[in-house]
Symmetry: D2
């Protein structure tokens, strides 16, 4: 991150979590209702989510005055309220498989706040959504829109985003209204059923989120080291559970020939564009004016109720671990708005690098 400096703080069972954003222009009228609506998309709801329900009310501590950004560092804090810290003390030396417990123990030398995953809890993504809401608002005012849907859960696949820009715009607009974001409603029903089934089996599922950005001008990106892919991947790989990121055809490029993969250039009414969009709107790490397309894979939630094999970190004794607590059989529907948010932050950073922060107004 360069022009937009963002840092995240807090632990799942501490007093509060929050985000500090520097680099916003003064004079942005913040739409708090939109911020709350975005946070609502991340909220746990129904049988497909954890029963831990948090109010997640964002408090704008600084950098905000009379309804607008001031241009000084903006701190958003969200208080923690629904902690059951007792759930974790008994198992603090037993690392949960596929969680950060063991690697954090090694990095933080045992001083990490282990309660509820501490700094590694998915809860930390709530302030990112609040920050992302401001960035999405900035982008929307410039005609740049971001949308994500669940392309896959378990082995159920949604249809991919349309290659037609106006259809894609409609798809993005429609997704904004959905808590469980899919393009094909029937697919969504099947996915929810699969998640509920996993929940009953005290198990969890993973999946793939597909995102698209429309309205980006050509010429954005700062290679060599700050290509659009680099900037977005750095942000997306910071999100817990993301284990892969691909742009355009992504891993689908592996089996293709150049003659199949290359996007021919054409002109429509004097405007240059590509006939296909296999490269996902990016050439050489720079936008080419076509919709930006990317996909991430979200691994299955590591916390499951089924007994698992672990080890006591102090004694190296084997332990049969059954995670009680309150957990999500799937996080992919909640992760979607986090993904939108990270993309928004990255794009505001890249646009600001090129146009200066007054561009945000």
């Amino acid at each position: 991150m360069n022009t937009i400096k963002i840092n995240l703080f807090g632990e799942s069972h501490g007093e509060a979590i929050g985000v500090l954003i520097d680099g916003l222009a003064p004079g942005i009228k913040i739409d708090l209702d939109f911020m709350r609506a975005q946070l609502d998309k991340r909220r746990a709801k129904g049988a497909i989510s954890t029963p831990r329900h948090e109010a997640d009310e964002p408090e704008l501590i600084s950098g905000f005055f009379n309804g607008h950004t001031t241009g000084t560092p903006l701190c958003i804090m969200i208080r923690n309220s629904a902690q059951h810290s007792g759930d974790y003390a008994a198992t603090k030396d037993i690392p949960r498989p596929a969680h950060a417990d063991y690697s954090a123990e090694k990095k933080y030398l045992g001083y990490q706040d282990y309660r509820g995953g501490g700094h590694f809890s998915g809860r930390l993504t709530a302030p990112l959504v609040a920050a992302g809401a401001i960035c999405m608002q900035i982008l929307a005012s410039k005609g740049i829109h971001i949308g994500s849907h669940i392309l896959q859960v378990a082995n159920i696949n949604d249809q991919a985003f349309s290659d037609d820009v106006s259809t894609l715009a409609a798809e993005i607009a429609a997704l904004d209204k959905l808590y469980f974001p899919v393009l094909n409603e029937a697919t969504g029903v099947a996915m929810v059923a699969a998640i509920e089934e996993a929940a009953k089996a005290q198990d969890s599922v993973g999946g793939i989120i597909e995102s698209a950005v429309i309205g980006l001008p050509a010429g954005i990106g700062e290679p060599f080291f700050d290509s659009v892919e680099s900037v977005l991947a750095k942000l997306l790989f910071s999100v817990p559970a993301v284990k892969g990121v691909e742009f355009g055809l992504g891993f689908g490029f592996a089996g293709l020939k150049g003659s199949e993969a290359n996007d021919p250039f054409i002109a429509e009414a004097g405007e240059i564009r590509t006939a296909t969009n296999n490269n996902g709107g990016l050439n050489g790490g720079i936008t080419n004016g076509m919709p930006l397309k990317l996909r991430t894979v979200i691994k299955p939630t590591p916390s499951i109720g089924q007994p698992q094999q672990s080890v006591n970190m102090k004694t190296a004794e084997p332990v049969q671990l059954s995670i009680k607590g309150r957990h999500d059989p799937a996080i992919i529907h909640r992760a979607r708005v986090v993904q939108d948010s990270m993309i928004a932050i990255g794009i505001v950073d890249l646009m600001t690098a090129r146009f200066g922060y007054l561009w945000q107004l």
Copy 2:
């Protein structure tokens, strides 16, 4: 990049290309033969590569004295010698499909050096290999080894890296000796044949590179925003033609359940490790002591001899484009050492963040 600051300069048909690295400790004895051997892996050879052959002799301009690093910024320069600049002038307004020509025109307002892809040429990866050689040397002296092989070309698949650490170590050591790096020799023969066939058809192929790192301690990584995945993906997505990066099972996580995907913890002789390594050695963005595993997809080389559809950027007239020049039907075998280099740079950065630069000695 934080503790290791690296910047790349130069254009394909300019006087020279180079890299400036800051953050190296003083007193590292640089093995120039190893650096040359690494550059040799990136060199174009045979019918599977471009006929443009460069000497690629690295000159250490600064930060190097009496055979050792001095600790001041180290500049490595490689002169350009085999340019045929005339090849490009005629087509400077005709963007090559899937190349950076058009997006660079938009970003650089027409002032970019368009000859041979300029700053976007694959040639720019040569100085990265030179810088990476120093980082690989540092890591090797600590027992940390990196290796990559071609997992897929066209639709031919090599076997994956072994899950057994000592077998994996042997595989990495063997790859170091190969110009066309595969684990299964017969696979390699088939892949080379597929590339030669594409060359004859004036076409190109893509593929997948799998990398592994052994010897990493647990506890490395700087989440939230500098997770190991974030740091490595940022570097890898800067490499031309990389369109996807995944860690551990990567996109394979999408169809799995938590009970299938989670890596159980076990203890062997008092040492904690995981029974499987689906997470590729990373939990919560931090190393867990298991081998780090990742894969990138390399899209088919965009430069192909077959006629393609393009547009004159000045007139918006359609143009039938046949790229003459000298190009690679595949770059995946040459990209392998670039991938090793980028991983090495990222890991030295992360280790230095934790242990200070004197650790490098």
Copy 3:
């Protein structure tokens, strides 16, 4: 700032002010009593300070668990409590001379929180003192001690720090106990009288603060652009009212010859040191093992009760301005601990760059 990333947030009359510090090692036992004692040195007291008295109780929101740092970003918040916001509304379009009101209006386009100087209030230095307390504690545990005294107020001069290291150590230790920090007690009495006199005249005074650091090893500093002078000056010039920074003899070098200014090297019991310390412990931007010495000038507090000439920013009409509010006739005695704190932050950054963050333990 590199290895220690610090950011400051909040406005004088907002809900809270705070600091976010990233880069601290896990496992530092934070001495909250020391932090409070440091904040107490910055507190307004007596006739020489503003009557606005704040509780300034630091809340450690994150990165702190069971009495120790966790190694994740540490957020310290201090609530604002004693605001009289009504004082400012009437004069928001009348910039106070030598304050940031006018330049902030230009930079923040009128969206700044103008109440009490907003983000530019001296209040913002309180969280810096809290952060600095942690850094001073780290340094003290390594035998590195920082002290500052008022070298000049109005035209009254304190004696300079001793050139003898053990005398200097005693001076630093003694200063820690003083609210009005001077080496010569009688000088302090005269300075306080001068400040009280200025207060009666509804005026204010400036002065010079001299600082020293003992116990620094030779070889710290990251030239070219992160010389010790560069790192410390960048931090010190961020403190409101600092208009000059000099190291060693500073501006006194202007009239000297090389033969007078150069510090000869000598050896004492096999240890190399310099016979004099005109360079203030720094050669080539790197510590040489001698005490680091620097001075800053603190301009007179801009807020004075006397009528001053200003202009209405909206109408460009001239205005006679009499600042009511509650202000400090001098801030130099309160600024001393801010200066100590900034130096401490800078030195922990430089030490961490060299030795890694585990050095902090």
Copy 4:
């Protein structure tokens, strides 16, 4: 440095020295004659400088095409040609007083290139002047002009810059034509005589450089940590021999009252400005539209012919050191253009942060 990333490389007696600048806009037509003229101001000439004369011809290795910047990293290299490396080998273990020899030995563990001061040689400022020339050219095209003069050498004082903006503009223009930059010609003659006298005595002199910038808009600066003072001081304190930096009245503020020091606001033809400019064009770390004024102190050149006391770093034996080589009795006249350059780099950085890099065009 944020939007303009600059790094310096090379050693005094290596193959070349150079600078890498990233963040320049594409399409800046570089005036190479101006760059050479700037380098000429830094060149050693006459009896007041070292007899080591270098060609200092800048080579633009990258980022430059058809006479314009391309927008990719621009590398400027200057070959070393006139080295007498034999001068230094004999004394490599004898640190020269007030030089970086000893502190560099500690930092670089003996691996530094010790010849001619290596990376710490004043020669390293030549590439900074080349980079600064580009920045000054950008600024001049926006009506922003920078000038510096020698305010003091030994105990001889030049007149200070005028407080009248149009007089100041004329002074800055006139300084551009002088190799020995003073406002009062007679003063310059006396200063040169003092330097020649020091040269005869095998000694050296220090002094003060005063700089001014006109044409800056109000509202530039990025507090809290990137105040204009912070950004410029960080750069200026990186220049060898600078031991103090002050803005506006600087240390002169210490003896003043607020009523004397504050700059009243007035309006002239609807334009707001200050009646005086004691704050040197900066309030709260942000420009206020008045001329920016600063001064640095340049310590006497440490290399002098007179015998000096030193110590053998290997044996800790005392040594009488007589520096032979070829040295400058004063560097202040050569340092002037370095100071202009550093200020230019800092201001382009700050302007680009606010307006984006396209502003540079």
